[in-house]
Symmetry: D2
Subunit: 221 residues, 4 copies
Amino acid sequence: MDVFERLRSSAVDEWTAYVDHAFVRQLGAGTLPEAAFRAYLVQDYLFLIQFARAYALAAYKSRTPADIRAAQAGLAAILDETELHIRLCARWGIGEADLAATREHPATVAYTRFVLDQGAAGDLLDLHVALAPCVVGYAVIGHALAPRGVDALADHPYREWIADYAGEPYQAVAARARDHLNDLAARTLTEARFPDLVATFAAASRLEADFWQMGLDAASA
Amino acid sequence: MDVFERLRSSAVDEWTAYVDHAFVRQLGAGTLPEAAFRAYLVQDYLFLIQFARAYALAAYKSRTPADIRAAQAGLAAILDETELHIRLCARWGIGEADLAATREHPATVAYTRFVLDQGAAGDLLDLHVALAPCVVGYAVIGHALAPRGVDALADHPYREWIADYAGEPYQAVAARARDHLNDLAARTLTEARFPDLVATFAAASRLEADFWQMGLDAASA
Amino acid sequence: MDVFERLRSSAVDEWTAYVDHAFVRQLGAGTLPEAAFRAYLVQDYLFLIQFARAYALAAYKSRTPADIRAAQAGLAAILDETELHIRLCARWGIGEADLAATREHPATVAYTRFVLDQGAAGDLLDLHVALAPCVVGYAVIGHALAPRGVDALADHPYREWIADYAGEPYQAVAARARDHLNDLAARTLTEARFPDLVATFAAASRLEADFWQMGLDAASA
Amino acid sequence: MDVFERLRSSAVDEWTAYVDHAFVRQLGAGTLPEAAFRAYLVQDYLFLIQFARAYALAAYKSRTPADIRAAQAGLAAILDETELHIRLCARWGIGEADLAATREHPATVAYTRFVLDQGAAGDLLDLHVALAPCVVGYAVIGHALAPRGVDALADHPYREWIADYAGEPYQAVAARARDHLNDLAARTLTEARFPDLVATFAAASRLEADFWQMGLDAASA
């Protein structure tokens, strides 16, 4: 059993509440209010800025050229994703000025700073376990929302978002992240610290669920 | 005008929403539901653990023996406060086992990790500006809730909490924190970075208001 | 006067002892013992790994997408330079196995960890001032050692090294680093902290001179 | 076998070169030139300031009140030791102004910043392994230099220094540090990371030996 699977099965309630959140189900069904999606998109942009910092932290905490290089690739990928995000926002009528003017929601602050602090206080395994619900979770969600493939999404209103995470490139990113967790665990996982890692994974999953909830709340406000 | 006063007057809406929050008003009036106070007390214990880490971070980031010593005194004071907090909780029927078993609320995660990250990413001024709404704000609130002095609180249900923050020792702690901010500002405050510090101060004040709201929400849940 | 020039002229003895070190003069005259150059090359490889971490730290400490992006570009450039360095070492008969088997010299530890700690304890200006003697200094040295241009180096034994740092691409890197220092100073430099920055710059210049000395010592050992 | 003993026996050459350095032998024999001792004392003061920061870093990286409290006690103890050190320096004719005016020697920079960076990049075990040659080593050296007890030192010129580290209080500090290493190892030591910890321990021991050498060099300069 790989480490991600061990973590997931040890925090299955928190995991399910996150990947099967009402926001996700409505997104998949195409019934998610546009206001919810838009609120999510803007906060996700602010989220990505902090996630880029988390990969920079991983590079700083690395000791070998190979580990630095892997973290740098992650950082570069997120910076590219940020650019794509700006274009996606534009297609939903959200300009760069809107993004810059928006304040981080407490749910955005809570998850991103939690991840950054786990990484600053702990080691690379602590950091990547805190990142995993996001990095791997989006691949799981993307896959689940496109059960008959990306082409079958036709004119689904959230086609583009689903296709991004269901598509091969992102699925490969998530697969590499799982491999990396296994590699880090082979180096530094003791059974004595496993409960702490489960606590980190569960907390990160709950904070991700709060992030979806923030989107729904914005639409009903 | 001292730096704290400049920050406060530049974020007066966020400040007022925090120090004059319904939780605070009900606490002062003695009408706050016990369930709200108890939920707050438990989270405040978890909060203090992270605040101790923030003072440790300040000591780590210091360069002179005097600055290290000042931060160490702050750290020691918070560890003492944590002990007092355990005793206060006990008087409200919350045992150490309860404290240990309680999970950090997202509002606790958001404010504490925000402060820690401001400190890790920035300098000592960034860190202490993020701490100021808490350190100075509690003195302001304590003073406001005991307008005729601590002795006049008689059998106020939250007498002990108000007396702690209204009392001379804590008022002196807050006064020293303001002086320290002025000292740090004399060394490192440029006008170009003032807007960033206001943004930090305003964000921290909002996150503190969310912390009060968490208490109220717990009582109405 | 730009900030780099202010720092340099405030630490002119340390600066001169570094950029005009016997190692540099012998390198320029082509009289440097090969053993000295080889010892330097190997340690410089280990040095670059830590410098990559320093740019990762800069990305982590950044707050805006533009600053993260700039630091990420610096990190990527150093990782590329590390690859070039491996090829340069190979041409001097030093294989990757040799590089991996070599221990960091105390002079390498001292400068690299000093820079990383200045960055972790301080802000981005502290970090970039500690990096400046290296980043800008190598451009100054490269330029000085190729007074009639790179083409005139003909069959100079250290032609390739000198050409790298005298060449337009590296000169542009150094020019951008100076601009970046000016930009950071415009945001965060107070006169009160200038003496601390001079102390950092002077210490870094001394540690760079020690790094040259390590090369000479290796040849005379 | 406790973890300290495992580390020591895996880096026995580096350990012996440190604890049995000529500086130590001459110190024990009472033949160490006063200039060497004085140069050492001044740098050791600067060293302690950075070691205080290392314990602050340990407190910041801790997650439980017990761990924060233990690190805080270490920090407080070092700050006290710094005060004692100022008095010891005074008895050797070195005033506070001299201490403040002295620059960190590269050997001081190398060891202290190495420790701080191991701690920032790694976890608490990495940090405490880097600290161990100092914390435990001084107890081993103190014990070795007072084979017939502290009282037998009579009018040994370095009586006071030897008695400090040979005495019961410091021996207890070192014993607790060994226990703490065992505790951290029980939580987070995998066999896969043991070679990295040996490398850290060996590097720290070499940097400690360089620190003694700096004292001898100062006397022969």
